[in-house]
């Protein structure tokens, strides 16, 4: 009965004119406070969810701190940590000898074997550095991160479950989170032994890795993510990298099926 009554309404909705901005390229994000002149107040206090916890909901992009070529900064500037996750560390990442040799080799070939170049996922570290957007959907018991580049999801469970004891290794691993005051602390394990690079130069991640991310929403416009990688198989010591991510105040995620080119253009089938 409800379905029958709903039909005329559905038909009416379909007949409504389609807005010009069909992909919401410029659609304003909800809940962003405005200054007197109408511009978004990005330094305002970070919002809180209905359960009183800091609310990370929204679309986020990595910091663009890449050095620019002499003729100026082009429009798809990336983060230095995308290219080298140890950027800014005096001695770089503390590679085990085999990992150092591997990275040297991969870097010499300009990262040509980067798995993301073949449309594979980048793993949870590169989720924070790849120069595309992620959308965070937050509930009290689960946070979901939607990756535009990968067209994948990442789940962070806040329901108190433990990490799996002997997990099947995956690209994103398994993530559980808890609140430490206003900081969301996420612990992850269960990564694949091969195929996950931390950066374009090819810093590896192995099955031995344990990653801790500390998410802190500094204000409306900025989130700080402190990432500690403890992977004794590939690195001689744990290391921590702090990244900034910025709220996207207009727009939304767009479709991004990386395999389209490979399917359509002969010769682009990698390897």
């Amino acid at each position: 009965m409800h379905a029958v009554r709903g039909l005329p309404l559905a038909t009416l909705v379909l007949l409504l004119p389609i807005p010009i901005a069909a992909q919401w390229l410029d659609y304003p994000a909800a809940g962003v406070p405005a200054r007197a002149d109408g511009s978004p107040d990005l330094t305002a206090q970070a919002p809180r969810a209905s359960d009183g916890k800091p609310d990370f909901s929204g679309i986020w992009r990595p910091e663009r701190n890449q050095r620019c070529p002499p003729d100026g900064c082009p429009d798809n500037q990336m983060s230095e940590q995308f290219l080298d996750f140890g950027w800014g560390m005096p001695s770089g990442l503390p590679y085990q000898p085999w990992a150092a040799a591997l990275v040297k080799d991969r870097a010499a070939r300009a990262g040509k074997e980067d798995p993301t170049s073949s449309c594979f996922p980048g793993g949870i570290v590169r989720l924070h550095t790849y120069p595309t957007m992620n959308k965070i959907v937050q509930t009290p018991s689960l946070i979901v991160i939607l990756s535009e580049r990968e067209t994948t999801y990442r789940q962070i469970f806040l329901d108190g479950r433990p990490l799996p004891a002997d997990p099947l290794p995956t690209w994103k691993g398994y993530s559980v989170g808890r609140w430490d005051g206003d900081t969301l602390v996420v612990e992850s394990t269960g990564f694949r032994d091969e195929g996950i690079w931390l950066d374009r130069k090819g810093s590896p991640l192995t099955e031995a890795a344990r990653i801790i991310e500390r998410f802190r929403r500094v204000n409306v416009g900025r989130m700080e993510v402190q990432i500690t990688v403890n992977d004794p198989k590939a690195y001689t010591a744990p290391f921590t990298v702090t990244l900034n991510e910025y709220l996207v105040t207009r727009g939304d995620l767009l479709d991004f099926i990386c395999l389209e080119e490979r399917a359509e253009i002969p010769g682009t089938n990698p390897r």
Partner: protein, 133 residues
């Protein structure tokens, strides 16, 4: 035919080499040679709005009138849309000029850095070379 190869004859000659494999969403340096900038003008013969790189092709005539079809690669669909591109800006039959960089291995392929549309409007191709090390 008023299309012209401006400063790139050396390029087409030197590209009579191996046909390589273009990879999907790759490092710029792995695919393109920043030391080999090129400029082409020609008639658009195809435009494909696909990820991770929008692609189009031009029929480019050399001074002797020999026409070669060149493929060009831009950035990803989402990035181009966000910087003001729309599907109707570049259409089959338009005459455009492309400034870019030659592919290292693939014949008749270049990265499109700046596209000058038939109405004179210049659009970024949405890619950038890796920074100087």
């Amino acid at each position: 035919m008023h299309t012209a190869v401006r400063r790139t004859l050396f390029a087409s000659l030197s590209l009579l080499m191996t046909v390589g494999v273009a990879r999907a969403h790759h490092s710029f340096a792995a695919e393109y040679d920043v030391r080999r900038p090129v400029t082409f003008s020609g008639r658009v013969t195809s435009v494909r709005w696909i990820n991770p790189h929008v692609r189009f092709s031009l029929d480019v005539a050399d001074p002797a009138g020999v026409v070669t079809n060149w493929q060009f690669e831009m950035g990803a669909v989402n990035g181009l849309l966000r910087r003001g591109w729309s599907r109707d800006l570049l259409k089959v039959g338009d005459t455009v000029t492309v400034d870019g960089y030659l592919a290292r291995e693939v014949m008749h392929l270049a990265n499109a850095r700046v596209i000058t549309l038939s109405n004179g409007r210049q659009m970024s191709g949405g890619t950038m070379p890796d920074p100087e090390k």
